[in-house]
């Protein structure tokens, strides 16, 4: 954290409203992307951002001045995303948006079959990956993101999501298999 950040966070801790506003301005886009990656849709991401800032605001007095503010905020955002996903788990279990049998994106019409040149473009890759992530249920997406992106162990992912280790593995396996089925046609052998 650079000196300016340290000073803004310190002022926000002391109750400076403008300083807190500055933090919101600076970090909201970052935590939106994180929340979107966890939840998979814009509305939920916006709600998570708001909840994360409310929590950050309440807990600011407990923030260690030497710590990195963004890392701290990142953790809060992940936890808020998990809270939201856990509250929706029952519904998710009843409505899996895509079964493994559904097949990869590359088999869904001409629109989904770009040339290798197009796939090579990073924007196209991002679109492909985000489309593939869209095939995952919220639980699979959360488990996959926590394991693959956040680097948590399967055991830690299970603790976060309130799942047994076997169920956590199952969610991650299903997620990776869906990602592989969807993306394998686009990776060069």
């Amino acid at each position: 954290m650079d000196e300016r950040d340290v000073s803004v966070v310190a002022r926000a801790r002391d109750g400076d409203r403008d300083a807190f506003h500055a933090l919101v301005e600076k970090h909201s886009r970052y935590i939106y992307s994180l929340a979107h990656r966890m939840t998979g849709n814009a509305q939920d991401a916006e709600d998570v951002v708001q909840e994360a800032w409310l929590k950050a605001h309440k807990q600011l007095s407990r923030f260690e001045a030497r710590a990195d503010f963004r890392t701290w905020l990142h953790r809060i955002t992940v936890n808020c995303s998990i809270d939201l996903i856990r509250s929706r788990r029952h519904r998710e279990d009843a409505h899996d948006p895509a079964d493994l049998e559904q097949g990869p994106l590359s088999e869904r019409g001409a629109e989904a079959q770009p040339t290798p040149e197009r796939v090579a473009a990073s924007a196209q890759i991002s679109d492909r990956v985000n489309d593939a992530l869209g095939l995952l249920t919220a639980l699979e997406r959360a488990a996959f993101t926590l394991r693959h992106v956040e680097g948590m162990s399967i055991e830690e992912v299970g603790e976060k999501l309130g799942l047994k280790t076997s169920a956590t593995k199952h969610s991650i396996f299903r997620a990776v298999k869906k990602m592989r089925h969807a993306l394998e046609p686009f990776v060069q052998s």
């Binding site: 886009r29 916006e46 708001q50 409310l54 509250s87 890759i125 394991r147 990776v176 990776v187 052998s189």
Partner: protein
Amino acid sequence: MTNHLSEDEFILHYYGEIDRADKARIDAHLASCDDCRLAGEKLERVMRMVDSASPVEAPDGFERIAWARLEPHLDANPARGWRVLWFPQWALAGGVAALLVAAFWAGRMTGGEQAPAPLQASAAAVADVEPGSVLRPDVGAHLDRTQMMLVELANDSGDKPAAFAGEQRRAADLVAVNRIIRQSAQQAGDGQIVDILEDLERVLLEIANAPANASSNELTDLQSRITQEDLLFRLRVIASEMRQRNQSDRTTGGPSPRKMPTS
């Protein structure tokens, strides 16, 4: 080469989470089986593709939207000299409604299992209550109770009709208290609280009035309403703020009336 690795083993191997007991066998197999080594490399390429994707960007101007949504909810913090004074006045005043709510719940504890009675009793009570006179702790307790009931319903597998009947009785009770609080909030012009209480009331009424032998589809519909409207999420935010206020007031010597901004 037989006994190829399973897909699950490839994934565990990729993440370095193969059990110690299996590690030597899997490493040996990968060293000697071209098919499996190639399959493992393919999985790695897919994962690299995932890693190389850019995250979804927030829409333009999102920072301003985020602040506009957030600002009205920020805590009043008189000790530090900032924040809008936002706690709803209607949630702080008089004792009549608090006594009524307490008596109502006490009645529920001792009043047996009939569902309709409390609903009727409370309807009469609502008419007698002067708006703007509910104590804050009762509001917080009501939100907590509602939250608990909704969580239980959202997780109801539908295979225990008796459990659903119990949730219906609780919903009927909660509707009554909800109305008292909503009317007070309405009187005070607290649009934000009124909004969520109205949403809550609609769902609570649907639960209370659902047939006792609700089909699994009907139950799923109710559960969808709870999740689609983000009721639990919104409830948690408000209930948590209420608790925060109560704690803050206890440490600063008791509640003082504050006005929630109407944003």
